[in-house]
């Protein structure tokens, strides 16, 4: 055995497959290169934003629930409210961030006392990085106990099949089949279950109100924001003022 044989055996326990991280980095980079419009206005194709994302964005929100990244103008409507014979109401939130006044009215018309509030984001520059947080926060919401909330709002299991087009450490973005590229990986995953909610008005204690705290999409400085629609149940329709959060630039970003 000569020196080349010995050298060939050195570090022979090295992986024989490309690491998922390297693969994902490559795909993300290609995606950024090949689809530069991603950093600009959101393209018209339908996308889903799954999982975490924008950790800093959650700072000021009591509950931040990433749901869907909106499609472009002219996409399907942002929400759907459907009342069933058993008295439950299915609330579907997707794509567009618009006509939330209409959402509030539709819920009320279907027997769900509701308040929909829209909160913008603001950019923060802290700890050497750029982040985002909600521009104001309701610090003292008079909420029903969690058990009541769980009875009023349930989330059916919904799965989504898509093709991974971009993935960072905190978020995964998929496109639907029509827009998939051959190199994209097909995934079937649990959809953000908050995008479809079943409201049980009969479980709402008298006087209580379904509260939807919607945050507008944020797109700035490389942050491709999200829409969040946490659903809460208030004891009454009294809504305290939304107190501006500290820090961040004065520039507010909302649609």
């Amino acid at each position: 055995m000569d020196e080349m044989d010995l050298l060939t055996r050195m570090r022979d326990n090295a992986p024989r497959r490309v690491s998922p991280r390297a693969e994902q980095q490559f795909r993300a980079a290609i995606f950024e290169t090949h689809y530069p419009e991603r950093t600009g206005p959101t393209p018209r194709r339908k996308r889903f934003l799954l999982a975490g994302g924008l950790a800093a964005a959650a700072v000021a929100a009591a509950i931040v629930v990433p749901v869907v990244l909106p499609g472009g103008a002219g996409a399907a409507k942002a929400w759907a409210v459907e009342r069933h014979a058993d008295g439950t109401v299915t609330l579907t939130l997707e794509q567009e961030f618009r006509d939330l006044d209409g959402l509030q009215a539709a819920l009320r018309a279907d027997g769900v006392p509701a308040i929909v509030s829209v909160i913008p984001w603001k950019i923060t520059h802290e700890d050497g990085g750029t982040g985002a947080r909600l521009a104001c926060a309701y610090g003292s919401l008079d909420l029903q106990p969690p058990a009541v909330e769980r009875a009023v709002v349930t989330h059916p299991m919904v799965t989504v099949t898509g093709y991974v087009a971009y993935q960072s450490r905190s978020a995964q973005e998929t496109v639907d089949k029509a827009h998939a590229k051959p190199w994209m990986r097909k995934v079937t995953t649990r959809a953000p279950d908050q995008s479809v909610s079943i409201i049980h008005p009969s479980a709402m204690p008298p006087g209580s109100v379904l509260f939807i705290e919607a945050s507008a999409p944020l797109r700035s400085k490389g942050i491709d924001g999200m829409v969040s629609y946490p659903l809460m149940v208030l004891r009454s329709d009294h809504l305290p003022p939304c107190v501006p959060t500290r820090g961040g630039s004065s520039q507010w970003h909302s649609k």
Partner: protein, 197 residues
């Protein structure tokens, strides 16, 4: 995990050489995925052996991204892209040269290989190196960078001398010369005898 789309992409080009695939990717960028799937495993292994698992992820991703961006400049008369990709990877490893050498020296000095440890399944697993590997590591650390690149493209990348020459953009004679000198130094480090005996 369903991988129908991958299988379709690979099977579509199974009969095509790399030059054909890269040429096609100039009009259909997503076809470059085929190049990635053909070579990512072996490039990852080569890079990981040199700089460790963590740095390898970045180098591998960047290797293929650079290749993707430079696909217009690829010489379509070269049927096999392997040397080209190894050349890009080796250039990128240059950024980690000091760290690479430091790791060889650490292995030579204390007998624990931080790179091999990065492949270990358990974080607390210590990979003890043999006396032979310690000597090899010391010799690798002492080689000129160009000689080390050439030697390891052949030993760890599995490239032929001709392919290494193409990867490094040097004449084949230069590769032979570097390999001869590097091997001589390794032999001396090993004591000019059969160390495995």
């Amino acid at each position: 995990m369903p991988i129908e789309t991958r299988a379709a992409a690979d099977s579509d080009y199974a009969e095509h050489d790399d030059a054909c695939v890269i040429g096609r990717s100039r009009d259909e960028p997503e076809v470059f995925e085929v190049v990635f799937r053909r070579y990512a495993d072996q490039i990852q292994r080569y890079v990981a052996r040199r700089v460790g698992a963590d740095a390898a992820d970045d180098v591998v991703a960047e290797t293929f991204l650079l290749a993707f961006r430079q696909r217009e400049r690829y010489d379509l008369s070269s049927a096999c892209a392997r040397p080209w990709l190894y050349g890009i990877a080796t250039n990128l490893i240059g950024r980690y040269r000091r760290a690479e050498v430091r790791q060889y020296r650490a292995l030579a000095r204390v007998g624990v290989d931080p790179v091999a440890e990065s492949f270990a399944d358990r974080v607390d697993e210590v990979v003890s190196a043999s006396a032979v590997n310690r000597r090899l590591a010391g010799a690798l650390a002492a080689l000129p960078a160009s000689h080390r690149d050439t030697l390891l493209l052949v030993a760890w990348g599995g490239l032929s001398h001709q392919e290494a020459a193409a990867a490094l953009c040097v004449p084949a004679g230069t590769v032979r010369s570097r390999i001869t000198r590097a091997r001589s130094k390794l032999r001396r480090a090993l004591g000019d005898s059969d160390p495995s005996a």
